[in-house]
Amino acid sequence: MKNKVKEYKRRDNIAGYVMLAPWLFGFVLMYFLPMLISIYYSFTDYNLLNDAQVIGFDNYVRIFTNDDTFWQALKVTFIYTIFLVPLRLAFALIVAMLLNTKHRGLGLYRTIYYIPSIIGGSIAVSIVWQQIFGNKGVVMSLLSVLGINQEVSLLGNPKTALAVIILMGVWQFGSSMLIFLAALKQIPGSLYESAMVDGAKKPTIFFKITLPMLTPTIFFNLILQMVNGFRVFTESYVITDGGPLDSTLSYVLYLYRRAFTYFDMGYSCALAWILVIIIAVFTVVLFKTQNNWVYYESGGE
C-alpha cells in the first residue's frame, strides 16, 4: 500500500511542470482568468468606462424575456447550422466517393476541391462572395444576359440572403471530403468482394456496408462542423453585416455588436455563456444518440 503521492518521482514532477509551464501560463492568462472574469461580468452592468455594477441575473433575464434580436440571432444561427452541416457532409461524401475510384488526375481534382476550405476563412473570400451574389454581381449580370431582370439581388432579399451564406459554407466541403476519402480507403475490400459474390446491388452495398462503416467518421465530423457552425462570424459581418432586416445576423455577430457597438460588456458575456451552454447541450445530445446509429467495429471503444 504505497502512498499515492509517492508513485510520482520528484524528478518527474519537476520535469513535467517545466515542460507544461509555458502552456499553463497561457492557459491561466488567456483561458482561466478570462473565464472567471467573463462569468463575473455576465452578472454585472459594465461598459468599460465605469466600474462594473453587480445586477444579479438581470442580463440573463433581459436576454430571454426582452430581447427580440437575441431570438432572431439564435434562429439565424440554428438555421445556418442545421442546413450547412448535413449539406456540407453529404456533398463531401458524394465527392469523396467520386474520387475513391481509379481514374487519372485524382490528385489534381482533390487539390482543386480542397482549395476553398484552405482560404475560405479569409475575409478576401467573403468579399468575393459578396460581389458574386451582390447588387451588381455575377448572378445579377448573368440573369440580365438571360433576359431576366431582377430588382433585388439574392443578398438583398431577406428570404434568400442566408441561403447564399450557407452556400458559401457548403462550397468549403474540402476538409470533410479529405476525411471521408481517408475513411473510405480504410474499409476492407473483402467486405465489398463478398457482397458482390452474394449479388448485392450498388445501393444495397452503399447502405449496408459503406454508410455503416463511415458512421464513426460522420459522427466526428458532425460534432466538429456543428461547433464551427455555431461560431460563424466573418461571413455574416463582411457579406451582409447581418442584413437585410437581420436575416443573416449570426449569434457571434450579435455578441460582437453588444460588446463593441453598444459597449454592453456584461450583456455580451452573458450571451457568450448562453452559447457555450447551447454548444455543450448539443454535443452531449449527439454523444447520447451515438449508440443508436454509430457503428464501431471493435464493439464501441
Binding site: L20, L98, I127, L178
Partner: protein, 284 residues
Amino acid sequence: MKSMHKKRKLDAVIFHVVACVIGFFMIYPMLWLLASSFKSNETMFTNTYSLIPEVFDAATNYMNAWEGVAGVSFLTFLGNTVFVTVLAMVGCVFISLLAAYAFTRIKFLGGKFWFSCVMVTLMIPSQVMVVPQYIILRRLNLVDTRIALVLPWFFGTAFFIFMLVQFFRGVPKELDEAAEIDGCGKIAILFKILVPVVKPAIMTASIFAFYWVWQDFFQPLIFMNTPSKFTLSLALNLFLDPNTYNNYGALFAMSLLSLLPALIIFIIFQRYLVEGIAMDGIKG
C-alpha cells in the same frame, strides 16, 4: 472483352466531365477574383460574370493596392501580418509540443487534471473568450499592439496538443527507454528521438497555425485601432467602408495579394495537410 473496354472508357469520360464541372464551381470564385483584379474600374461591373476583362487595367489596380489604404502601404500590412503569424505559429507549435510531450511521456502529479483542462478548452469556441480577453489585454495596456494578436495563439492550442498527444501515443515507449539507458535526458529524448518521428504532425500543425493566424479576422477587428498596425485581413476591411472608398479594382488586387501566400504554402506543403487531416479525422 471489347465491350468491357468500351464501358471503361465511357466511365472515365463521365467521371472527368463530372469532376471538371465540380472543379469549375470550386475554382470559379478565385478565377473571378483574378480576372476582376485585372479589369478597369469603369468596366468592372459590365458583364460582371465574365472572366475576360473588357479593358485591362491591372497596373493601376495593383499600384493602388500596393499604395495600400488609409495612408498605410501594403508592405506595412504585409509586414505586420508576417510578424504576427510567424511569432504566433512558432510559439503555438513549440509550446503545444512541450505540453503534449509532458502529457504522454512524463508521469507527474496533476498531469491528468491538466489534460482534462486541455479538453475543456477544445470545446470552448475562441469567439466566446474574446470579450474577456479584450478586457484583460486592456488592463495590461496591450490593446492595439501587435503583441495582442500574438498572445491568444502563442501559448499553444488545445487542438494541437490533442493532435500531438495522439501522435506521441503511437510512438513505442521502448524508443525513449532505450535512449534513457544511453543517458539521454528528457529534453534530449524529445528533440533527438520523438521530434524526428512525429515531424509530419509538426508540419501539419505549423501549416494549420499559419492559416488560422494569417486569415484571422475576429481578434484583429476587436484588438486593433491604428491602421499602421493592421494585418492584411483588417486592411481589407478598411477598403470595404463604402463611405470612404469604392475602388474595387484595388480591393480585388489586394484581396488576391493577401491570398497569394496562403495558396503558395498550400501548393508546396499540401502533402502534409492532406495526410494530417486524414489522420485526425480517423483517430477522432
